[in-house]
């Protein structure tokens, strides 16, 4: 615990030092006061937080940024005690964090269950279509050869070989779920512990495995022209991007802006943003956010 506190203190200190609000900007009369935006400690979440900030600022709302706060166990308490007011979240994971027994997987069900699970004083706004979640991928050649478009089509393939993180073997969305929900049995499982990273992708493209679990917004999916299989029976819980905000800060103006962002933000956008952030350009989250807002919001 001590380490977490230290991490938070550091993150907050750095955030304040690096991104303190511009003191020359005064909130217009009748508008809400400053909104402090946080983010988890990974680039995609930081990019979305910057998009929220850019969109709100463009409508004259004063924002302050405390990005890169670490894991959920750290930033949710920070949101509850008012150190931050707003953070981009993912519906499924936030629901599981707030209610570990939750079983909803379909996007609407997850969103409905999440609305009930949020603590007092906090609220989730409308989720975006954009999702960052586990996804099962095959090579374009495999998809063509076996006619696989959805996970259900995998049941036609005998002796399916699949690579994923080790926990895939036991989790409800993993091997047990493939068997129960889609009737796919006899999977030869290769656990690779890099979270759908380079070794997993290499195993897939080199033909050592037929299917690989890769996060849906990973640039390597595009770079290798992989086919992400549809999940018609919602085996994998929805992870729509959603603004998680303190109720007191969710004024009509703020909601309008964030709803507009969510309405426009897609999984393809996240793929492109992540690719631009990690690729040769190494564009910073704030520049990517400016470009996205300019392209997508009026």
């Amino acid at each position: 615990m001590r380490l977490r506190h230290l991490t938070l203190a550091l993150a907050v200190a750095l955030g304040v030092a690096a991104c303190g609000g511009d003191p020359t900007k005064q909130a217009p009369v009748g508008d809400s006061e400053t909104i402090t935006i946080g983010s988890a400690a990974f680039p995609e979440n930081e990019i979305i937080a910057e998009i929220y900030a850019e969109a709100l600022e463009s409508k004259g709302i004063v924002v302050d940024k405390k990005l890169n706060i670490g894991a959920r166990e750290v930033y949710i308490p920070a949101l509850e005690n008012g150190e931050i007011d707003l953070i981009p979240e993912y519906t499924g994971n936030l629901l599981t964090y707030l209610d570990p027994k939750a079983t909803a997987t379909a996007p609407d069900e997850v969103t409905a269950a999440l609305a009930k699970a949020v603590p007092k004083g906090l609220t989730v706004l409308d989720p975006a279509p954009a999702e960052d979640k586990d996804s099962l991928n095959v090579t374009a050649a495999f998809a063509k050869e076996n006619g696989t478009k959805t996970i259900a089509d995998l049941s036609k393939v005998d002796g399916l070989r699949l690579a994923a993180n080790p926990e895939f073997k036991q989790r409800a969305y993993g091997i047990p779920g493939l068997e129960k929900v889609y009737g796919i049995t006899g999977i030869e499982f290769t656990p690779i512990s890099d979270g759908g990273g380079p070794a997993t992708v290499k195993a897939l493209v080199s033909g050592k495995v037929d299917v690989a679990d890769i996060y849906s917004t990973t640039p390597s999916i595009r770079a290798n022209k992989l086919v992400t299989l549809d999940d018609p029976k919602n085996l994998i819980a929805a992870q729509n991007v959603v603004p998680f905000i303190r109720e007191g800060k969710a004024t009509a103006d703020v909601i309008e802006v964030l709803d507009a962002v969510s309405a426009a933000l897609t999984t393809d956008d996240l793929l492109e943003l992540n690719a631009a952030n990690q690729g040769e350009d190494k564009k910073s989250p704030s520049i990517l956010a400016k470009e996205w807002v300019a392209d997508n919001l009026k």
Partner: protein
């Protein structure tokens, strides 16, 4: 999270559970895989390091280069090397074995040439004066006298490989590392600690075998 008596108890319970001692995920099977990876690694490393070490030790050539190279190889992080090999040649047995061979070569090389170097020059000169060929000097004088240090090189290499062969599980292979990697993925800490205890136990057993072998090699020298 504190490491308490509770964890020790849970680990003992994990190790004591009979279900963990059967099948492909059971301890005997995982331990055999671990021993097999380690044995193949040390064998491959020995094929490279021992002839090279003998040549360096016998001729006295390239000695400084060998010391520097072996030292640099020792500093290679095995997990990073493993990831690099996987990206080059894909998942499977070869990448982790190669990464572990890089770990095992330096102690074997050092043990071999240091063993030869430790042999008294006067003994070697005497052997040559008696009409021994270079090969006879090496095989009948230098190697027998270097044996304790040579075995020491094998001992050190084997221990390092057993302790590090857990990385094979990172890229989908078996071995005792499975318990560490899977335990972490499932947040099953008794399984992780249990796996570590097994690796330590295996290393201690291997060490005991080498202590015996080293004693034998010294006895032979004295007789």
């Amino acid at each position: 999270m504190t490491f308490s008596a509770g964890v020790a108890g849970e680990t003992a319970a994990w190790l004591g559970d009979r279900a963990h001692w059967v099948g492909t995920d059971g301890v005997p099977h995982r331990a055999l895989e671990h021993i097999a990876y380690s044995a193949v690694t040390v064998a491959v490393a020995a094929l490279v390091a021992v002839p090279l070490g003998l040549w360096i030790g016998h001729t006295g050539r390239w000695q400084r280069l060998a010391v520097v190279t072996a030292g640099a190889l020792r500093a290679m992080p095995t997990l990073g090397l493993l990831t690099w090999f996987v990206l080059l040649i894909g998942v499977g047995l070869i990448a982790p074995i190669l990464a572990l061979v890089v770990l095992a070569v330096p102690p074997l090389l050092a043990g071999t040439y240091a063993g030869l170097e430790s042999v008294d020059r006067a003994t070697i000169d005497a052997a040559r004066d008696m009409g021994f060929t270079e090969w006879q000097v090496l095989s009948r004088v230098e190697i027998p006298l270097a044996l304790p240090l040579l075995v020491g090189g094998f001992r050190s290499a084997t221990l390092q490989v057993i302790a590090t062969a857990t990385v094979a599980a990172y890229v989908g292979l078996g071995g005792l590392g499975r318990y560490l990697i899977d335990g972490q993925a499932y947040r099953d800490y008794p399984q992780m600690v249990g796996g570590s205890v097994l690796v330590i136990a295996l290393a201690l057993v291997a060490d005991a075998v080498f202590v015996g072998a080293q004693r034998l090699s010294t006895l032979k020298e004295k007789s």
